[in-house]
């Protein structure tokens, strides 16, 4: 199994969700996150005092998949997340040892 993590622009969430559903993904986890990459931040001014806000709001989407689906699923996420502008985010995958469905106790791919 693989854990696919995507840190992307918040307004792409709906597109990504729809694309994942169409691909056949049954569940995912979304958290609000903040950070920066090459995009860096932006400047805000309060009564003349300038602040550089370097942490930009992002969402983090996490999906568990079987190994053979991983590459294809990454492509699906990247396609749905892309706007072509700086700050579109990153997607990566890491191997997962095991997964358990809490209600039934099923393990491994059966738990997905």
């Amino acid at each position: 199994m693989k854990l696919i993590t995507a840190v992307v622009k918040p307004h792409r969430l709906d597109e990504i969700k729809e694309a994942l559903q169409a691909f056949g993904v049954h569940g995912l986890t979304v958290t609000e996150a903040s950070g920066y990459g090459r995009q860096r931040g932006h400047t805000e001014v309060y009564r003349g005092a300038e602040y550089t806000v370097d942490l930009v709001p992002k969402i983090r989407i996490e999906v568990l998949v079987e190994d053979e689906d991983a590459e294809q699923l990454i492509d699906v996420v990247v396609k749905a997340a892309r706007t072509g502008k700086i700050g579109d985010g990153k997607v990566w995958s890491v191997p997962v040892e095991t997964a358990v469905r809490v209600r039934t106790g099923e393990r491994g791919p059966d738990a997905l």
């Binding site: 805000e44 001014v45 309060y46 009564r47 003349g48 005092a49 300038e50 602040y51 806000v53």
Partner: protein
């Protein structure tokens, strides 16, 4: 404030139901300004000190109200002694005042005048709190308010508005509180911050406002309440002067907001909500002493000057290194000075009094009087406030511990959190205890 209208007729004025009703409504409007100020300031601080900022204003509604009844009204508006303070034993506890007894020379009961003036006395120390954000012990602040209104606000209100008060008798024009409220609070703020010092991380850490919608809400409610503050300060509507004040309040505030926004756009590139709110407040401050003596076009000029100059003045703290956290000095002191001095230029001689300003052929006389009023209140408030802060600091301490300031004054001083958005209750465990017998061993809980 209005000169008594005894010249209109030989017989004493009678109670006017219209004026009395109007003044009660104005009193309620001015009361609203203190919670409005609390939100205006509360939105400007970081999340961790929101509640403390709100409470610094709210506590004034308690402390000053009680002191005013006990002796404040007597000191401010009792029989004059030496032009410096008042004292009337009838006013102590408001206990010797007849229900239908009229305020001398006016058509409203003494009770109405007393409660209207009370709302000013509440607001003024609350204004100071904006300069002290994030770092002052709540008990020290409560003690400061108590001492400050006693030796600064009550006497200064007497100087400016009390019959026999030395600035009042000299002919200084302060319609609704440019000197007594705004210069007074602004100078006090400067005096206190010079004693207590900067917030931890000032000029180093970002200190962004945590909620600009709260700031806008507060500014809007201040603007609304200010009509009671300004138009009500004529104490009645028998001659139209209060209506002129009402109009000028609106006009100057609008102009000041535009001026601040224009400055910001040119200087920093954007029209900000904080700029709009701040510009409006700067205009309200500046028109407060002046709106009863200028024309609407004069009010546009006064507002525009105030918006522009205050927008520049809020940057001074970074240059000189004093931590006027929410710009009480930059807006209230500077705006109050501007408005009070501009009376000397823009007084038409045709509204609240016959005194004419420089632009209306009146020469320098009125400007000179205004300068005396500004200088006297500024110097007195600055020095006495600094001394009070120093005394409190040397005895009980003005500031919370540095660690507590960094982790957030709300939890340390109030044992509360302003916002809990997490479904998990922010990790809170335990259950609410019943008010009935809970045996505790008086354990000190680590905050």
């Amino acid at each position: 404030m209005a000169p008594a209208i005894t010249t209109l007729a030989a017989d004493a004025p009678e109670l006017s139901a219209a004026n009395t009703g109007f003044m009660l409504i104005c009193s309620a409007l001015v009361m609203l300004m203190t919670p409005a100020l609390a939100f205006f300031y509360g939105g400007m601080v970081r999340v961790k000190s929101t509640l403390n900022m709100l409470m610094m204003s709210f506590i004034s509604l308690g402390i000053v109200t009680v002191l005013w009844v006990l002796y404040g009204f007597s000191v401010a508006f009792g029989t004059d002694s030496g032009g410096l303070v008042g004292w009337s034993s009838d006013y102590l506890g408001l206990s010797g005042i007849g229900v239908t007894e009229l305020w001398d020379g006016y058509t409203i009961p003494v009770y109405v005048f007393a409660v209207f003036q009370l709302m000013f006395a509440i607001l003024t120390p609350a204004l100071i709190s904006g300069a002290l954000a994030d770092r002052v012990k709540f008990t020290a602040w409560a003690l400061f308010i108590t001492l400050w209104v006693t030796v600064v606000y009550f006497p200064v209100a007497h100087w400016v508005w009390g019959a026999g008060g030395w600035l009042f008798e000299m002919g200084v024009i302060d319609f609704a509180g440019g000197t007594a409220v705004h210069i007074n609070a602004g100078a006090a703020a400067l005096g206190v911050i010079l004693v207590i010092g900067k917030r931890v991380g000032f000029k180093k850490d970002p200190m962004r406002p945590h909620s600009l919608p709260l700031v806008m809400l507060g500014a809007g409610l201040l603007w609304f309440g200010w009509f009671g503050f300004n138009a009500g300060s004529w104490l009645g509507n028998d001659d139209g002067v209060g209506a002129v004040m009402f109009v000028n309040t609106q006009v100057a505030t609008g102009a000041a907001m535009l001026a601040w926004l224009a400055y910001e756009k040119l200087r920093h590139g954007s029209f900000t909500t904080l700029g709009a709110a701040s510009g409006a407040v700067a205009g309200l401050v500046a028109i407060t002493p002046a709106g009863g003596s200028c024309s609407p076009l004069g009010a546009i000029a006064i507002g525009a000057v105030a918006g522009l100059v205050c927008a520049m003045a809020v940057g001074l703290k970074y240059k000189f290194g004093y931590d006027d956290s929410l710009d009480v000095v930059g807006v209230h002191l500077v705006g109050g000075i501007l408005g009070s001095l501009l009376v000397g230029f823009f007084a038409t001689g045709g509204v609240q009094s016959e005194a004419k300003g420089l632009f209306y052929g009146g020469g320098l006389e009125q400007l000179g009087k205004q300068a005396v009023g500004v200088g006297a209140v500024l110097a007195y408030s600055l020095v006495v406030s600094a001394i009070l802060a120093l005394v409190i600091d040397k005895t009980m301490g003005m500031r919370v511990d540095e660690d507590d300031e960094v982790s957030g004054i709300d939890q340390v001083e109030h044992a509360e959190t302003a916002y809990d958005f997490s479904g998990a209750g922010g990790g809170a465990s335990g259950r609410a205890t019943a008010p009935a017998p809970v045996v505790t061993e008086n354990k000190k809980v680590d905050a």
